[in-house]
């Protein structure tokens, strides 16, 4: 939504539901918002039908705050829990076929590039571990090898949550889930290693324990995807239902898993690093120069 589409037609302000007026007056569009400011602006994701205590929801909500330009961002999802929240968010959302996200995103990003050569349009895939590592694997890998300039975010709850708890490629070895009655027979897929092999420009792994870090990681990933190449964020977003984590213990679990095997990790290419530094310098220079008189 370029900011032009966020203007209510004169005379219709009083007929618009409050939610939309809030979106116009207090939305996070055209300005940078921080996690610490939550509560002072209208968030991109508020009401949603996700399960109580869902860590994925917390991750998505915080990740959306990290988007550098939500008014020029399109999000793509596929079947899975995440899309239930994403389709309720105040951001254009594409819900395609099973495992098609990175194929659709490739065409979308290129098409937007053709139509708007002078306006960065950010494309972000946000889908589950099954959607990206199993059914969407080919589209994911090829979008990376082709160096398509968009961000892929895996909401890794290590299970098919939405279909009722089946093993996925990202499930840990030995875990007993539906369709793995004797426990999963093979290791969790190394998507980070595959991203490295494919030459992804920025790779990050994290658990949702630190909201500011979530927002910063997403911001970096989206910015690098604009100029340098594909970026990949793999986030542990536990399924408290299928893994029977008591709701009050969801964050304890996140911290434990983080400490054990899901610690924060970044792999950034030299080109991407240089690009981020350049942006940072430009930002500082602007701040020093101050607002124009």
């Amino acid at each position: 939504m370029s900011l032009e589409t966020l203007k209510i037609s004169p005379g219709f302000e009083s007929y618009m539901p409050k939610e939309y007026v809030d979106l116009v007056e207090r939305g996070p569009y055209g300005r940078e918002v921080k996690v610490s400011e939550m509560g002072t602006f209208k968030e991109i994701l508020e009401e949603h039908p996700m399960c109580a205590g869902c860590a994925m929801t917390l991750f998505i909500r915080t990740a959306l705050i990290g988007l550098p330009a939500p008014e020029h961002t399109v999000i793509l999802g596929t079947a899975g829990c995440g899309r239930l929240a994403l389709s309720q968010a105040s951001i254009p959302f594409i819900y395609g076929n099973y495992g098609d996200t990175n194929g659709v995103a490739s065409g979308l990003k290129r098409g937007l590039g053709i139509r708007f050569p002078n306006q960065q349009k950010d494309v972000v895939v946000m889908a589950g571990d099954g959607g990206l590592s199993d059914i969407g694997f080919s589209c994911v890998m090829h979008s990376w090898f082709r160096k398509e300039k968009f961000t892929t975010v895996m909401l890794d709850n290590e299970v098919y949550g939405n279909t009722g708890g089946q093993e996925s490629g990202m499930t840990n070895k030995g875990v007993v889930l539906k369709m793995a009655p004797h426990g999963k027979k093979f290791e969790k897929m190394d998507m980070i290693g595959l991203a490295k092999t494919a030459g992804v420009a920025y790779i990050a792994r994290l658990a949702p324990t630190n909201p500011t870090r979530i927002a910063n990681t997403i911001r970096k990933a989206v910015l690098i995807a604009r100029e340098v190449g594909p970026t990949y964020v793999q986030a542990y977003t536990s399924c408290n239902i299928e893994y029977a984590i008591p709701t009050p213990k969801v964050m304890d679990d996140a911290r434990a898993v983080e400490k054990d095997r899901y610690g924060f990790m970044e792999i950034i290419s030299d080109e991407a690093k240089a690009y981020l530094e350049r942006i940072e310098q430009e930002k500082k220079a602007k701040a020093v120069a101050g607002p124009k008189a």
Partner: protein, 245 residues
């Protein structure tokens, strides 16, 4: 797909039409050209369609405008101009409601049928407000068609579609290529019909009584919420802290 050779014509009338009626297009209703209108499935002259629309909006119960995204979001000058003519149309209809369709996504957990109409379940808004005549304007054609079809299936609402493109078979009255100029003609048609001696529904004894009762009910609702809410909603008003440890 087109039905057979029969010379009988399919009437596009207010419903409820049944569980799942066919689309009017499948029953052989075709779209009007610029300068024409479509009234209950029949191609007519534009002025006749305008008049039929005006008559429905002035005589039927709870006339309502449903402005879509292409009216309520003033993204360019053309839209803003169009929006102002839509308000002129509203001004000619006593007792009119304006309920926007600001976008098309499903709304969770449920819509407020007094505040908004949504193509995922347009009937909720129409049933709740007892709307028996309405104008859709500025809704993208796909979502307008999906909506009109469901409204015809489930309600007795007389639907009017003022379309910027090719028009809509499933509306009882439809006009194509509605720019500001043609919308102005709708304003004139409303004035003309009133001049011909029609008493608008809102000014009839029934209309007056019903609108007054409605105002009354709303007032009571507001009061009830104001007096009851603090006790009940205390915790929720503050919101839950998702980051709470």
């Amino acid at each position: 797909m087109s039905s057979a050779t029969s010379q009988l014509r399919y009437q596009v009338l207010p419903g409820p039409e049944g569980l799942l009626p066919p689309s009017a297009s499948a029953m052989g209703v075709v779209l009007p050209q610029d300068g024409e209108g479509l009234v209950e499935g029949v191609l007519t002259a534009e002025d006749l369609a305008l008049k039929a629309a005006a008559r429905a909006m002035l005589t039927r119960r709870n006339p309502t405008l449903f402005p879509g995204p292409l009216v309520v979001w003033g993204w360019n000058k053309h839209t803003q101009e169009k929006a102002s003519v839509v308000l002129e149309i509203a001004a000619e209809i006593p007792g009119v409601k304006i309920i926007p369709m600001p976008d098309y996504r499903p709304i969770y957990p449920k819509i407020d049928p007094e505040a908004v109409i949504n193509p995922c379940h347009p009937n909720l808004t129409i049933w709740h407000n007892k709307i028996e005549a309405c104008i859709f304007v500025g809704v993208h054609c796909h979502f307008a068609n999906v909506t009109l079809k469901m409204v015809r299936a489930g309600t007795n609402c007389y639907t009017i579609a003022l379309c910027a493109e090719a028009g809509h078979e499933d509306a009882m009255v439809s006009l194509p290529k509605c720019g500001t100029e043609k919308l102005q003609k709708m304003v004139k048609a409303l004035r003309q019909v009133k001049k011909e001696g029609i008493t608008p529904w809102a000014l009839t004894p029934n209309g007056k009584r019903e609108l007054e009762a409605e105002r009354d009910q709303r007032r009571k609702q507001r009061e009830a919420i104001a007096s009851a809410a603090p006790d009940f909603a205390h915790e929720l008003v503050a919101g839950l802290d998702e980051n709470e440890e």
